[in-house]
Amino acid sequence: MIEVRDLRKEYAGHVAVSGSTFEVEPGEVFGVVGPNGAGKTTTLKTVAGLVEPTEGEVRVAGGDPTEAETRRSLGYLPEESPLYEEMTALSYLRFFADLYDVPRGVADERIHDTLDRLELDRRETRTGDMSKGMKRKVAVARSLVNDPDVLVYDEPASGLDPLTTNYVVEFVRELADEGKTVVFSAHNLYHVERVCDRVVIMNEGDIVARGTLEEIRDEHGGVEYTVETTVEVEGATEEGGGYRTTVEDMDGVERVREEARENGGEVVDIRTREPSLEDIFLDVAEAT
């Protein structure tokens, strides 16, 4: 559905993205994560057809997204919610539906349906008089007025309160379940873990890791073991009356067990823990 090949984008001599290549399959939720200035937003803007690549190629649904007609199958949600504040939510959404040549009847039905799902009742309110969360919901609804196959969401939960954030993230997952292809970026890696099927980690314009979350975990860290003992061993921290030691493999677990026995104690608990995307991200970022 989306093909990005050797994408390079420079702004006034500054390289924002240098040679990214990835593909997104239909119905997939694809995460783009990385620190500030990593090139995430530029990558998403390029996919949305807002920015022309300096080099390389981007194809969305077989077309060039910088061509107006290709953008007909795209729904873009920028990091902010830049609405025309003198317009009501309804008139704003109708205007965009009009730009996408959606018949008025279909548009109204679709708009009301989406706003119902997003639980936004104040449809005749000027968007300038809305809260940030409400504006975000209007922006999300705008990205859906044309019933696009591809959604490009840049930090969809940016700046929202936890409740609204959770709502928006769940909504993205629902959209994916309905068959839409979603490219998704977020600072909060927990959200990415919740909704993304595959992920690329970007740093300083480069893709430094890619794959499913499992693949990335395998490649960057794998499983960790936390061994709780009744006596202190090397590298242990005292917690809740016991001692906890984190090791990376079963050999480490055996070493802790042996040392505890030698010190007159024993192992009372062994827990496994998979590294979070955040752990992997920090690990990758430090490495690069």
């Binding site: 006034a12 920015v51 107006a68 953008r71 795209l74 920028p78 902010e80 025309y84 730009l99």
Partner: protein, 581 residues
């Protein structure tokens, strides 16, 4: 560009803007309408002149009828007390006395014109009745009236005859001298008075006669345009503030459709307002057609300025700049309508002629309108070049944004030739503007000044695209590349320049500065003309190469190269002027 999309955006722009119109904007619009609707008809009816000067003159006086017939004079009972207290500008008793003020002197001048007009009418009737030839001359009676010394007076007139007594039958010429003409006026004496502090009088009385009323009315066409650009600039700026325009850019419409859609309503409003003004001041379709390019250039400059401005503060500067520069460009030449070919530069001259009941030739529409229309089209194209996500939301300096806009036209080396052609209308308009500004100066000053300015304008226009290409890394910074780019740009400019030489159509070549600015040399020998045809090609190519080579090294070197190119160009211009002269 798809008209349906453009109209859709235009419709949205209207509804959106209407929704966001605040009370202050409405108040401004109302004031503008009242200004136009109230002042203009008043002016067209001669209201500007009505009873401007108060003349104390007895009904029995020979001056009375002349004063009564004048639109600018108002006859009242003569009174020494009223004259002393300043309520009368002129007192006619046993002589003519003027108040010792500028207005008093102007009133005397106007009285003199009124008397002359009255005499002419009387003699005209006489001429009709009898087959005679009338030659009316005014001679100095040797008696001066002094406005400074109001006690001195001019006699003759109060008890004069009807001005026809000197006529004889049988084809004898009639000489109406001041001695014999009851309404004669000692022009020499009054001229002496008026000459003391420079000429005074109403603008309509200045020689050559300036079409004052029509000019004022023509100016009324420009007033509403200033309000339209305020709304338009705000609309464009709103797209850029808080990145509001990004979602429109992400929708399936091109940026050109967006720009066109946002502009169409304001152009329509501008034309509508112009039409209303035309009706109010008894103008015709000619006025509306003539002002349309002015409205277009108002919007085009505002659009580019709004795209480059980084804040509302800068936007204010932009709109003031647009207002002042365009108004100056169209208004100053129009002052000389019917007086000088320089007026053909301005579409407002067509309006002035229309309001005078005269018809302007089609060539005037082309000559005054075409450069503005082409310049506007180029400006819109330039601004649309940066109407994209990566430019319109940044805070880059205006200089860099302008370069970005130029870069949007550059795709390969040959593009610089295209840019040079596109910039020809600007060069043309800039040179016409300079012509309009300096043509009143002595030729010894205006021509050299013009030659220098023309060289600066042309060299800058030719080399900017090359410089922009180097700055943005579109072109490789090598000397051979710079030479090729310079040559391409020079050739492009030469072609465009030759195509734009429409000046001869309207007779601007009759002006010394016109010839200097536009390279018109119709009276030169064929050999000289042949040389002059090829020489500009060599000039443009060489000078642009010089500037381009400088540009390939950096900003400072570009400045040096451009200066050298200008110097060569000025030397060439001086040589050509010497050769043709």
């Amino acid at each position: 560009m798809r008209p349906r999309k453009v109209l859709r955006i235009a419709r949205w722009e209207v509804s959106r803007s209407a929704g966001g119109l605040d009370r202050r904007s409405l108040a401004y619009a109302l004031v503008a309408l009242l200004l136009v609707a109230g002042v203009a008809p008043f002016a067209v009816d001669g209201g500007l002149y009505d009873s401007l000067y108060v003349v104390g003159v007895d009904e029995e006086s020979g001056y009375h009828d002349a004063v009564e017939r004048s639109e600018t004079l108002r006859a009242v009972e003569p009174s020494e007390e009223a004259f002393s207290s300043g309520r009368l500008d002129v007192l006619v008793t046993d002589g003519v006395r003027a108040a010792d003020t500028g207005k008093g002197r102007a009133a005397v001048s106007e009285l003199r014109d009124a008397v002359r007009a009255y005499n002419a009418d009387l003699l005209d009737g006489y001429d009709t009745a009898y087959p005679v030839s009338v030659d009316l001359r005014y001679v100095d009676r040797g008696t001066a009236v002094s406005a400074d010394d109001a006690s001195e007076s001019v006699s003759g007139g109060s008890s004069g005859g009807d001005g026809t007594e000197g006529g004889t039958d049988g084809g004898t010429d009639v000489e109406a001298s001041g001695e014999e003409d009851g309404f004669s006026f000692p022009s020499g004496g009054l001229d002496g008075v008026l000459g003391q502090g420079g000429r005074a009088g109403t603008p309509g009385g200045i020689t050559p006669p300036f079409p004052f009323s029509s000019l004022v009315l023509a100016f009324a066409f420009l007033v509403p345009l200033n309000f339209v650009i305020q709304a338009y600039s705000t609309s464009i700026m709103n797209e850029r503030i808080d990145r509001r325009g990004v979602l429109t850019l992400a929708s399936p419409v091109s940026r050109y459709e967006i720009v066109a859609g946002k502009t169409v309503p304001y152009f329509a409003i501008a034309l509508g307002t112009v039409a209303v003004v035309a009706v109010a001041v008894s103008g015709g379709v000619a006025s509306v057609v003539a002002v349309a390019p002015v409205a277009f250039v108002f919007l085009a400059l505002t659009f580019v300025g709004s795209m480059f401005a980084r804040s509302y503060k800068e936007l204010t500067f932009v709109t003031v700049f647009v207002s002042v520069s365009v108004t100056s460009y169209v208004f100053v030449p129009a002052v000389f309508t019917d007086v000088d070919p320089i007026a053909a530069i301005s579409p407002l001259s067509i309006v002035v002629r229309d309001l005078q009941g005269a018809t302007a030739p089609v060539s005037w529409y082309l000559f005054s309108g075409a450069p503005l229309v082409f310049s506007s089209a180029v400006l819109f194209s330039l601004g649309a070049g940066v109407y994209r996500e990566e430019d319109m939301f940044t805070q880059r300096p205006v200089r860099l944004k302008a370069l970005d806009a130029l870069v949007s036209w550059l795709h390969r080396r040959a593009s610089v030739a295209k840019v040079s052609v596109l910039l020809i209308p600007f060069v043309f308009v800039a040179q016409l503007l300079v012509v309009a500004v300096v043509f009143a100066l002595p030729v010894g000053i205006s021509v050299p000044l013009l030659l220098v300015v023309a060289a600066v304008v042309e060299e800058t226009a030719k080399s900017m695209a090359v410089y922009a290409g180097f700055v943005s890394s579109v072109f490789e910074r090598t000397t051979p590349n710079a030479v090729v780019l310079g040559a391409l740009s020079g050739v492009g400019f030469f072609v465009g320049e030759k195509a734009a030489h429409l000046a001869q159509v309207v007779g601007l070549d009759r002006l010394e500065v016109g010839r200097a600015a536009l390279g018109i040399a119709s009276d030169a020998s064929p050999l000289v003309l042949a040389v002059l045809l090829v020489a500009p090609l060599v000039l443009h190519t060489v000078t642009t190469c010089i500037a381009s080579v400088g540009a390939s090294y950096g900003k400072r070197e570009f400045g040096v190269g451009l200066s050298a190119a200008v110097a060569v160009h000025v030397a060439y211009n001086l040589a050509v002027v010497s050769l043709v002269a």
